[in-house]
Amino acid sequence: MSEALRRKLDAATGAFKDERLRWLVGRSEEMVLSGKMSREEFEDRVNGILQTEIERWLILNELKSKGPQTIEALSKTLGLTHRRILEHMIAMRWLGRVSVVEEEGDWYLYAATGAPEASPEKETER
């Protein structure tokens, strides 16, 4: 259990570096008080973003520590569905956090790029 937990804590540490999440948590009271969204709706959004970021960091840390892997291998290690990992891969390829390095049978081998993430301004330009 401890190794899996350590992996999750590392992923959560990475997730909390996410600017969007930090901004959202920092502005939570103002947003709720301004009536832009209810507390429940706000908490749902934060939980959603946090969950997504934690899963992405789990994948990235796995790729960084063990080298390029397929979605199949990641799914076995992390206990996430193929579909969920594929969704993250599509998003992270777009953000430049992972890339396809080669094919292994029917699967793509993904690697962490280590490249800086695109800033929101750059994202809107694409």
Binding site: L9, D10, T13
Partner: protein, 143 residues
């Protein structure tokens, strides 16, 4: 077998809680020595990554202590920020199978040495009931 002695990392704000802990010492109040204190300028300075790192390194519990809500914070909103972060982190820890009671936030002013001693004593008692952190071989809540 020796009794389990929890390890607690305490992040205390410079202006209120650290002064409260100092007062507890100056007043010769007795409290358990299980806490290792890290002084920060404000409870709002405590990044969630610090807390995760403390648990990752084997802390059985983490205490964040700051100035009383709503208006004692010397930086105006630091205690609010700390409160929101801790609430979020408790949910994350629960998801990971770590008891959220291992993370605690308390408001201790510079004049509340007695309260600081009580908070630490209570936290040590609670952690003894919970047992060691799952990262130190404890069970956690098995999620």
């Amino acid at each position: 077998m020796s009794e389990f002695s929890p390890r607690i990392v305490g992040f205390l704000c410079n202006w209120c809680s650290y002064a409260g802990a100092d007062l507890a010492g100056l007043s010769r109040l007795e409290y358990p020595t299980n806490i290792r204190i890290i002084r920060v300028m404000c409870s709002g300075r405590v990044d969630p990554a610090f807390i995760m790192e403390a648990f990752r390194e084997g802390a059985d519990g983490v205490l964040v202590a700051g100035c009383h809500m709503p208006s004692d914070c010397h930086y105006m909103t630091g205690n609010f920020k700390a409160n929101r972060r801790v609430a979020l982190l408790k949910r994350v820890l629960e998801q990971f199978g770590v008891e959220p009671e291992r993370l605690r936030i308390e408001w201790v002013s510079a004049s509340e040495g007695q309260k600081f001693a009580m908070v630490v004593t209570k936290m040590v008692d609670d952690l003894k009931k919970l047992g060691p952190s799952p990262l130190r071989g404890g069970g956690g809540n098995g999620v």
